[in-house]
């Protein structure tokens, strides 16, 4: 059976309301990325850095809309937040987590390779992640680096594998009971 676009988005399992030209659209983060929906909290530089580091952590994270997902959630009431960070005891507002850790990872890239995050090759990306995954690297000025690793990795996992598309990639049936109920508005 071929799904209509609306049905597909409703079945994405991660459809979120994005403001578009004065109206609200229900989009998956992947669709928001594809449509180039504007960001409301994150700067262009932060978006680029989130896309780059999350794609090193989980290939496909950029195209799955990880930056749109995080940006959208930073606008939400923390108690309604879908970010895994709420489990880790970091108090809201969560921008106070993402802004410094993304900046710190970008600086680490510069200090280790004299390159922007988005310019790292696979080997460099791996060395970068291994330098902050388990402990704060020297000069780290942000919330704990291992927490940054786990939170960003989980965000990327959520958008790449936590949706029906992600389940399908893994060959696992989604078997939903109820999908997010919002429609186009």
């Amino acid at each position: 059976m071929t799904l209509s676009r609306r049905e597909f988005v409703k079945q994405s399992g991660l459809a979120l309301s994005f403001a578009v030209a004065g109206t609200t659209k229900l989009l998956s983060p992947a669709d928001a990325y594809a449509e180039g929906i504007a960001f409301s909290v994150l700067s262009d530089e932060e978006v680029n850095n989130i896309n780059a580091i999350c794609s090193i952590l989980v290939p496909g994270a950029k195209e799955a809309g990880v930056a749109h997902f995080i940006d959208h959630q930073l606008n939400a009431d923390p108690n309604d937040s879908l970010l895994v960070l709420k489990y880790f005891g970091f108090p809201p507002p969560y921008l106070d987590f993402y802004r410094p850790v993304v900046s710190a990872i970008a600086k680490l890239s510069q200090s280790m390779f004299d390159k922007n995050l988005s310019d790292l090759d696979e080997k460099e990306g791996r060395k970068l992640v291994e330098s902050f995954r388990d402990a704060n690297p020297e000069g780290w000025q942000a919330p704990p680096a291992p927490l940054a690793y786990h939170a960003l990795r989980n965000d990327a996992v959520d958008v790449v594998y936590g949706t029906p598309e992600g389940f399908e990639k893994l060959g696992v049936p989604y078997m939903e009971h109820i999908l997010p109920p919002e429609g186009w508005s």
Binding site: P91, E122, L170, G171, E176
Partner: protein
Amino acid sequence: MKTNEKVDVVIVGTGAASSVYAALLAEAGKSVVMLEKGTARKLTDLYSSQTWARRLKWATPHVMEESKDSIWYNFNAGHGYGGAAIHHYAVWPRYHPEDMKEYSLYGQALDWPYEYDELRPWYDKVMMDVGMSGDAEKEIWRPAGDPYPLPPVLVSNHGKVLARGFEALGMHTSPIPMAILSQPYKGRQACIWDGWCDAGCPTGALANPLVHYIPRAVKAGASLRPDSHVTRVLMDNKGVRANGVEYYDSEGVKHVQHADLVVLGAFTIENPRILLNSATSKHKNGLGNSSGMVGKYIMSHPAVTAFGMFEEETQNHIGATGGQLLNQDRFPKEKGSFGSQQWEVALALKPNDLLGIAMSRADLFGSDLHSFMKKASRSMTSMVAVVEDQPMIENRIELSSKKDKFGMPLALAKHTWHEETRKLFHDTAKEGLKIVKAAGATQAWHSPPGGQHIMGGTIMGSDPEKSVTNENAQCHDIPNLVLGGGGIFPTSSCVNSTYTIHATAMKSSRYIADHWGSIVS
């Protein structure tokens, strides 16, 4: 400030204990109001997504931790109608008789103010109310109780593969006892084994509070008020009886709700927080705290998950989140690593979230992670051990110097596992690897420790100088102030707490309904 019309009973919370109190007292003809700090929620709000499931947990910090071993508040507590029980996995083993008299039998830990035989009828009653699936004969460790009304939950290849490992080591497995319907029951549909329990089950197959006791309470006339942040229990002028609570609504308006009976069922951490914040000139250390025991003996089960990778397909995506099989061979308590331990075997897995496949190897990233995800989705196994935490008086909840937006001090948790508990945990983790390897795994590994099922802090006891409540969960100091939830447990056993929360709440509710006149006058 708004003063609401007085009711017979005000209940703080809408979770497992609160919903039982509400149903039974409303059905006994009492006017009942339930106050929920979180949001209003109905079954149709429970979306099938591990990402959306996080709405069921708090983000706003109510608890600061100065713990060596975290109690994992954010993961365990619940936000909204149904409380923590809305996202619980419905694994419902019973406490064993020895769990309730550990001091008498072993000279260690504490005694409950009654023995298992007094709780048994309430376990049986709750079981028949909500419907449970299991096999009492095969569950060889099970204490005395009526047979399960429903046949066991599904066992997929996941359970069969792991059962081989237990069998190879001479260990036993049985169907896991669950408050999930294996067949239709009292108008509710059976489970379809899709593994979305953690996201909150909207079908009615899993006995969360929105399925059974809250609807019963509402049918009998109880009302629920969401976004109601209770800060204090109020006392009469003599300081002898509770006469209501103070709370703030979502607009920040302060309310007073007077009642003849106050039930605190606001989760293990919130109950002592509210009691300590309710100090008056006649109760300078907080309500119910003449013994100094409010907040003391906080417990949290250490849990470890053992994973295996196999050549064969394990069908790990189907079943219930809480598992398919049970093992309690290591229930007897031994000196040196005192405490009980149980395995919940073959947990249904999803790719993401804390208990998801990706987190089982949190060290992997990039192409290595993707290769792992592909293989693990097909051939991984998972089983979790729950380990008994010992009650220690130094593990406690206090009030923090930090305050919430209503000016109420946050809770401050201080918790460290007993050295014997730590040893038992490490022995358990090793045992898990042995079992998985014996089942034929090509790789075996285990998780770091996590904390499940927060208990204690307002414990029951026979001695008013050493406990907060009596055997009916009434405060020793204030008989019309009642405590609900795992906070009243003097010991933690190693079993999941929600079934016993229901049973103890039902025992207390029935006593209160039967002795209403003497309790509230």
